[in-house]
Symmetry: C2
């Protein structure tokens, strides 16, 4: 249904659009994302959209002439969901980056898709509010991309993923018609939940051009605990103990030894000298300190050393250490970032299994995890000129997915399927679900022009 | 697409099923719900399902013979979403009421659809957990019905609606095939979010036969404030002030004067002597008392009197007063329960407008509201033998929806569209959204046998 047609000239209806370009440097830029995967070919062209009308005209022409379109935000995706190939046109939305409105009383923001996650958070902070989904890439990723992948981050075990923050969407459908779905109210159940269907659909059902997002009151207080462990299994067990103690930390991040080593190398810190795994926990709200004590008591039996970071600067440095994990690894080579999820009490089995996979395949795997929701990012690090989609890295990736599934988990918690995880998609969702998803795709995009070959 | 076919004999493939009956008393019971609407005809038959296989056989036969099927839970719906007419077969799921598993470490419950909301909460409480969606009808409504309507309740401004609690669903599709969607993990984004699509689809896309639901840690403390006001506008303004103060109450319920009068009459309380409107606020968690003080300071300037209910029994009595609103009104006549939503800062305009509609149409309207999410239940009370779907009640209902929409709101926050709100559906969602929803319906239920004429 969604195979790429052979190369052919770009129809004038598209090539004549004001934002259209074939500039080779631009095409080189937009053919890939941060997944580490570079497609063998370059796209046929690029439309730099600045207005909803630009998107409408692009899709109307693409629909009429059956030209595949790859919507693109900030290009920070980790599953090659925005990678583009020969015959495809990239629809670049990153210049549609205005915050149209923040309503501090209603606690909502109305934004264009190219707004950066961190910029939205900075604007919300001026009103004592925050936007909950916070991918590690907050300073470079766009809200539109967050919606396309139903992105998560550190705070979602407590505050929910992107889907929970999306109240309404304006979406340009495959044929160029403009759909508004959802409501400006916290609750609304009139008809099917199309905004939830579009959220996480990786640009295959429509192009989001405006979103009404829920903001939340900034917590009045935050408390921070850090702990170092003999091994990663102990850290995972401590994280599970925090959940079993019925605390609801806003942050519960696990970092393994190899990743700590990379962070130390890149930032001059000395985490790995304190242990082979690190856990960062934050509680927030009116009872932040009381809840921190519950977390502390749960962690202590498993840890080598524990630090209560009362000083905000010290706490911020610990958060930054965690945030620097991916850039630190990227300084060492090409990184393929996994995104598996497991039930929270299977975390220790998963991290131990990842060690085994690393040994057996000879591939280096460094792991960080959003431990409070069982979402792990095992990162495969290879030399810069080594491919990640074949040989031992691909073998390790497949073993990783199989292990997550055998523990009752999923192959992607928050990054999406994109192009890179297609091989394992049906094994996870099953033939019938695949068929139903394709029927929905067919109902909304009958010519299959939207991001072909991705997601479903 | 979904018109009811003329009456004809029930095919043997259905009539021969073990749970099938034509018992007139049973058919009388299942032709209506708690909406106050009684269809003019009775359904052709009833299948009392006890197993997934019963549901599979029913739908397989119905699909083959093009017989419309009305899925039914506990029958407590308020939008005639489960009402059944001539030519339709009711698929009654209320006997599929087992809690299959509670995992206290993972904080999930696996349940059949007929489990009552309160029974699930009681089972979760044994492990120090709770199930967040809590419709006022908790003791009589089923979890399957909650999923069908994406039900809310008092606690969802803080803890989310049913959609946020549904991690995975097993659904029997229109043709009898069994689909599993979602994952046993807190986060998962593999493919389209079908579980979110099924949640709130009012039995028109499939029949939920099993659900994996997220439980949450029971709060370690709860604090309660009650306040009485000169008029309902002041109470609404106080509720908006609580939100503007950036508190996140777990409960923020508004009750107007006429409803207080009915509660007093039914329960012997004396709320109305204290004011013409009542606001009940609860905060919970480790900082419950500190947050209560923020709520208190926001409410005080608007209130005639305020009560901090430190005694748990006193707090519980106040919650019970709110919960008794609907039964108290039902003691006075036939009640049609509205479900409009407005942006939270428009609450005062909405309640004032409802007073005006009541005066102008001569219809009695009593209002309660989940004020923290702007969801109001204006209840039209008529004599027991008066219809609610024509004359002044229908006029008032239409005016109510128009008012909510003019304030940027919705016609249904948590009860669904059902049969009763069909007239206003397209005005709210728009022609294009209606078309997209019908295409999805067509993709999943090509013969239109599932709950025809409801929701979309």
């Amino acid at each position: 249904m969604t195979t790429t047609p052979p190369a052919r000239p770009v129809p004038e209806a598209l090539a004549g659009l004001p934002g259209f370009t074939r500039d080779p440097a631009e095409l080189e830029r937009v053919r890939t994302d941060r997944s580490g995967y570079v497609p063998p070919t370059r796209p046929a062209g690029l439309v730099r959209a600045r207005t909803v009308e630009d998107v409408v005209r692009t899709l109307r022409a693409a629909h009429e002439h059956r030209v595949p379109v790859v919507p693109r935000g900030a290009g920070t995706g980790l599953a090659a969901g925005a990678s583009a190939r020969e015959g495809e046109i990239v629809l670049d939305l990153h210049r549609m980056n205005r915050i149209l409105r923040i309503d501090p009383v209603e606690q909502i923001a109305v934004v264009e898709p190219g707004v950066l996650n961190a910029d939205l958070n900075a604007a919300a902070a001026e009103h004592g509010l925050f936007y909950a989904p916070d991918p590690a890439s907050t300073s470079i990723c766009s809200v539109g991309g967050n919606i396309a992948t139903n992105a998560g981050g550190m705070r979602c075990a407590k505050y929910g993923v992107t889907r929970e923050a999306v109240l309404a969407l304006t979406v340009v459908l495959a044929d160029g018609r403009v759909l508004t779905t959802g409501a400006g109210t916290v609750k609304a159940v009139t008809g099917y939940d199309l905004k939830a269907l579009f959220t996480g659909s990786e640009g295959t059902l429509g192009v989001v051009v405006e979103a009404v997002l829920r903001l939340r009151p900034a917590p009045v207080a935050t408390a921070t605990v850090a702990a170092w462990f003999r091994d990663v299994g102990s850290a995972a067990a401590a994280a599970s103990a925090v959940i079993a103690a019925r605390a609801t930390p806003s942050v519960l991040e696990l970092v393994d030894g190899p990743t700590l080593g990379a962070i130390d190398l890149a930032t001059g810190s000395a985490h790995r000298s304190r242990g082979e795994a690190f856990l960062l926990a934050q509680t927030d709200g009116f009872g932040a300190e009381l809840e921190r004590d519950v977390v502390l008591r749960a962690i202590e039996p498993f840890a080598e050393s524990v630090l209560v970071a009362d000083d905000p600067a010290e706490a911020e440095a610990l958060v930054q250490a965690r945030r620097s994990a991916i850039p630190s690894l990227e300084a060492l080579g090409r990184v393929s970032i996994g995104d598996v999820g497991v039930p929270r009490h299977r975390l220790a089995e998963m991290v131990t299994g990842l060690r085994r996979i690393a040994e057996e395949t000879g591939v280096e795997i460094c792991t960080v995890a959003h431990a409070a929701d069982g979402n792990l990012h095992p990162m495969i690090v290879v030399d810069r000129d080594e491919p990640i989609t074949e040989g031992p890295p691909k073998l390790a990736l497949g073993r990783m997915f199989e292990l997550a599934r055998s523990l009752g988990g999923t192959l992607t918690g928050e990054h999406g399927v994109g192009l890179l995880k297609q091989d394992w998609f049906t094994a996870e969702v099953g033939e019938l679900s695949r068929e139903v998803q394709h029927r929905i795709k067919q109902a909304l995009d009958p010519h299959g022009i939207l991001n072909p070959g991705k997601a479903v």
